[in-house]
């Protein structure tokens, strides 16, 4: 099956990119080996944002087309997005400790924005679990997902401002590797890692989507079973919505 091949490609590219990032590319002149953490950290962050964008757009798709497949994409995006967000934060902290001397730095706008992103979408996932009816759940989730997505640029903007007014001497930024002046080897390694992660992302999205569809089908089957049982029990049985 095509998805399985995709899975193997993902595995191969991730392993290769990791090997390059850890053993092939040289350490940074200033940051040393800690710089290597940036590759999976930045890649995870980009995929987190991509995932949540997919969730928001799929939510709109559901509200518009009322096709539950959109909602399956939405939940896949949210769950996988939460995972990559957690990775991004973890990577940021592992980088921060050797470079800043602390695990957390309030003045780093990207770290704080990403933490808020995690809060928004963990809330989204928890919120989803409270509704059993698939269509109601899809509608409610879509709305919450859209408002969360609308909030993200506001958060980003305001946190940047927040930091900007407290200029400390030199807060080393984790994103030096994105600097246009960065050595091409670094950029190349980052792009390779990003490509590998994106393939893995695609594979995981497909699998999670399949799972979501299967779960809805299962829920529907259970509901029909209960309906039959209730009918068999007689007109006094209450049908719960």
């Amino acid at each position: 099956m095509k998805t399985r091949i995709l899975g193997f490609v993902a595995l191969g590219t991730v392993v290769a990119a990791t090997a390059v990032a850890l053993f092939v590319v040289a350490p940074d002149l200033n940051q040393g080996d800690a710089q290597r953490i940036m590759y999976p950290h930045v890649a995870s962050a980009w995929l987190a944002y991509l995932s949540f964008g997919v969730t928001a757009i799929s939510g709109i798709g559901w509200l518009w087309k009322r096709d539950l497949r959109f909602d399956a994409v939405a939940v896949a995006g949210a769950e996988i997005g939460v995972m990559f967000t957690a990775f991004a934060i973890w990577g940021g902290m592992m980088w921060g400790r050797p470079i800043w001397g602390v695990y957390w730095q309030w003045e780093d706008p990207r770290l704080t924005t990403t933490a808020l992103l995690l809060a928004l979408y963990v809330g989204y996932l928890l919120f989803r679990r409270l509704t059993d009816d698939p269509e109601r759940r899809a509608t409610r989730a879509a709305i919450v997902g859209i408002v969360a997505a609308v909030d993200i640029p506001i958060v980003h903007f305001s946190v940047e401002w927040w930091r900007g007014l407290h200029q400390t001497a030199t807060i080393a930024s984790p994103d030096r590797v994105l600097d246009p002046a960065a050595p091409p080897v670094f950029v190349g390694t980052l792009l390779g890692m990003l490509g590998a992660f994106t393939i893995a992302w695609l594979y995981l999205m497909i699998r999670r989507y399949q799972l979501a569809r299967a779960e809805v089908a299962r829920e529907e089957a259970v509901r029909i079973e209960r309906l039959m049982a209730a009918r068999a029990a007689g007109p006094s049985a209450e049908v719960a919505r």
């Binding site: 399985r4 991730v14 080996d33 953490i37 950290h41 957690a86 995981l204 799972l211 299967a214 779960e215």
Partner: protein, 40 residues
């Protein structure tokens, strides 16, 4: 390697986490399709 423990911790959790999530997905897919089905 300088700061080796942080680099290893970062990669272990991220790459390992990807692997664990993948396996978890496989398990959930297998259980919902029934162990007799070909789920992959």
């Amino acid at each position: 390697m300088s700061d080796a423990e942080f680099v290893i911790a970062a990669y272990a959790v991220i790459i390992g986490g990807l692997g664990l999530y993948t396996v978890a997905l496989w398990r959930r897919l297998r259980s919902i399709h029934g162990p007799d089905d070909e789920a992959r």
